[in-house]
């Protein structure tokens, strides 16, 4: 069987259910063949609607959906050669694992022997051989998920669409099934599109992370780009791991600018090529929480640090390999330092202690 290309292009895709508000609002995106793409965003941001439009369970109000060079708008899922794995799996409760997996082959008119052979091969691939004759209700959540995956994959689709596939599982199983999804994707070599609202899931799995808000794409890129270099405040806050600070630009000097702060000296931020920043603008900047170093007052700042924010420790949470220290460094925004466990316990802080929060100047980034 020839494997068709499974690259996807969304061009100006809009969807409105009531004719007034666009749930999906002019989405443009290219997904490479064989990529693992994660759509991430809060509930109601339109990510599932996009998935359903790619799957053919919903028609876009405007725009084109191109799979493998062919505009698929108006085509049935089978003609698109896509397959969907539904949230909470939608397994047929009256059919056994084997019959669930063979269902698509059955309606394609394959002979019983052929479809059972194919189903058994797939059952082996997802390691459910000893459960083949059970009903879905007799399986655990993780097993049901594997059945759903196998049922979707058996038609050899060029695109597999997964709607919050891990949300029904408990934490430990989720991490395990996450790896399994990635393994299956690599084994099948097809495009996976995965909708989630869990940041960790997205960055752990995806080649392409797409962050959405209110029907629009906020940022799309490699996991590391999106996490480490969020484009704006929304993405930075949604992906987490960043302190977002806001302030008025006090002065711009060559390669950096200074944000006015209550603390003397303000916050120095390196200028980036694309950024047009002038004195008086209000600018958001981001500093990674694990880039923040805490120094007791009176101690010397580490080399390369030009900014220090005097602050009081509000709360301390032990997280295992690091300690989360919440500070009142800036008036309106949350400010958190992730201190490595060993560093923290070398000189443990207490709630109420006064410290200087500092970071290497080039770790601060202006946001759009």
């Amino acid at each position: 069987m020839t494997i068709e290309r499974g690259d996807i292009e969304l061009a100006g895709v809009c969807k409105s259910f009531d004719g007034v508000t666009n749930v999906v609002d002019g989405v443009n995106l290219k997904i490479a063949d064989g990529a693992y793409c994660c759509f991430i965003g809060p509930s109601g941001c339109g990510k599932t609607t996009i998935l359903r439009m790619i799957a053919g369970h919903e028609d876009p109000t405007a725009g084109e959906i191109v799979i493998g060079g062919q505009n698929v708008v108006g085509l049935a899922p089978v003609q698109r050669r896509t397959a969907m794995m539904f949230q909470s799996y939608a397994l047929f409760p009256h059919l056994t694992v084997r019959d669930n997996i063979a269902f698509a082959l059955r309606v394609r008119g394959l002979s019983k022997a052929d479809r059972l052979r194919a189903a058994d091969a797939m059952i082996e691939k997802v390691r459910l051989t000893s459960f083949a004759d059970r009903l879905p209700a007799q399986l655990s959540g993780g097993q049901q998920q594997r059945v759903a995956l196998a049922r979707a994959a058996i038609t050899e689709p060029r695109v597999l669409l997964l709607d919050e596939p891990l949300s029904a599982l408990d934490e430990q199983l989720r991490v395990q099934m996450r790896q399994e999804l990635r393994r299956m994707q690599q084994e099948l070599g097809i495009t996976f599109i995965h909708v989630t609202h869990t940041q960790l899931e997205a960055i752990a799995l995806a080649d392409l992370v797409v962050v959405m808000e209110q029907g629009r794409i906020k940022q799309a890129g490699r996991a590391r780009d999106v996490y480490a270099h969020p484009h704006d405040r929304y993405v930075a806050e949604f992906m987490g791991g960043q302190n977002v600070l806001s302030g008025r630009v006090e002065k711009v000097n060559g390669a950096s600018f200074v944000l006015a702060q209550a603390a003397p000296g303000g916050i120095e931020v390196p200028l980036q090529a694309r950024a047009k920043i002038s004195v008086g603008d209000t600018v958001d900047i981001a500093v990674r929480r694990d880039d923040v170093t805490l120094v007791r007052p009176g101690q010397a700042l580490p080399a390369g640090c030009s900014t220090s924010l005097p602050s009081r420790v509000l709360a301390i949470e032990y997280q295992g390999y690091f300690v989360k220290v919440m500070l009142d460094a800036v008036p309106d925004d949350e400010f958190v330092a992730y201190v490595p466990e060993k560093t923290f316990f070398a000189d443990p802080l207490n709630v109420g202690d006064v410290v200087l929060a500092t970071w290497t100047t080039d770790r601060a980034r202006p946001l759009a």
Partner: protein, 292 residues
Amino acid sequence: MQSSQTPPRANLAGWLCVSPLVAVLVPFFVAPILVVLAASFFATDGFGGLTPGFTLSNYIEVLHSALTLKLYLATIKFTVLTWIFTLIIGFFVAYFLVFHVRNQLLAIGLFLLCTVPFWTSNIIRMISWIPLLGKEGLINQALLATGAIHQPLEVLLFSDLAVVIAYVHQLTIFMIVPIFNSMARIDKKLIEAAIDAGASRFDIMRLIVVPMSKSGIALGTIFVVSIVMGDFFVVKVMSGGGSASVVSAFYEDVGVLQYPTAAASAVLLTLVLVAVVSLILRTVDIRQEITR
């Protein structure tokens, strides 16, 4: 296992909970059945007087009569025909309401429309067939007017056809309700998943909807079968006295004071019905419908 650990107080509460049902069922269901059962073994003086005792002669008489077999065949014919038509109509009405009417308010409205025949009494409903199916009824007039026939069709009213029409009209709702109920529980995502797998509408109906509505179909079947087999009124009125059913026969027996034979027929019919119902329950796990 669990009941042995249940404290007596909880046991008492359980009994109290079922006591209203018991209070209704024992005097109005169990007792009459026992009376009929006892009467079926009594002898009679032929004038309505019963002689307590134990004789099988009533049963022998009923089972030896050629009429009994004929009556059962007639009743089974009505039952099967009614069942087939109510099933087909009921299934598709429920299917339409559940899967094609998107607006839930509209679905409920249409559902209520199905109950319109019940807004009037059975007798009125039956009489109202006359202007439609009668010799000078609407259908005959229309057919005569179009020239399709030259003589009014006699078969429309006071015939087996009329009996089946009346039953279907009266009993389809008993199919619609349970089938609607089990269909409404089918997760719409399953239908989508089937579409995703490439299933046609017919495949979805055959492989998903019908198997998942089985318990509703079984419940509806029990309603329809037990009502038709236990009825004599519709047969009597709609056939114009030309056809009979098992019940109409022992109704006649009662009319001529042959209580023991009537009782024996009734017991026999009850056994047949119990057998039919248990056969249905054996094929379909109806508990699923009740406990879900």
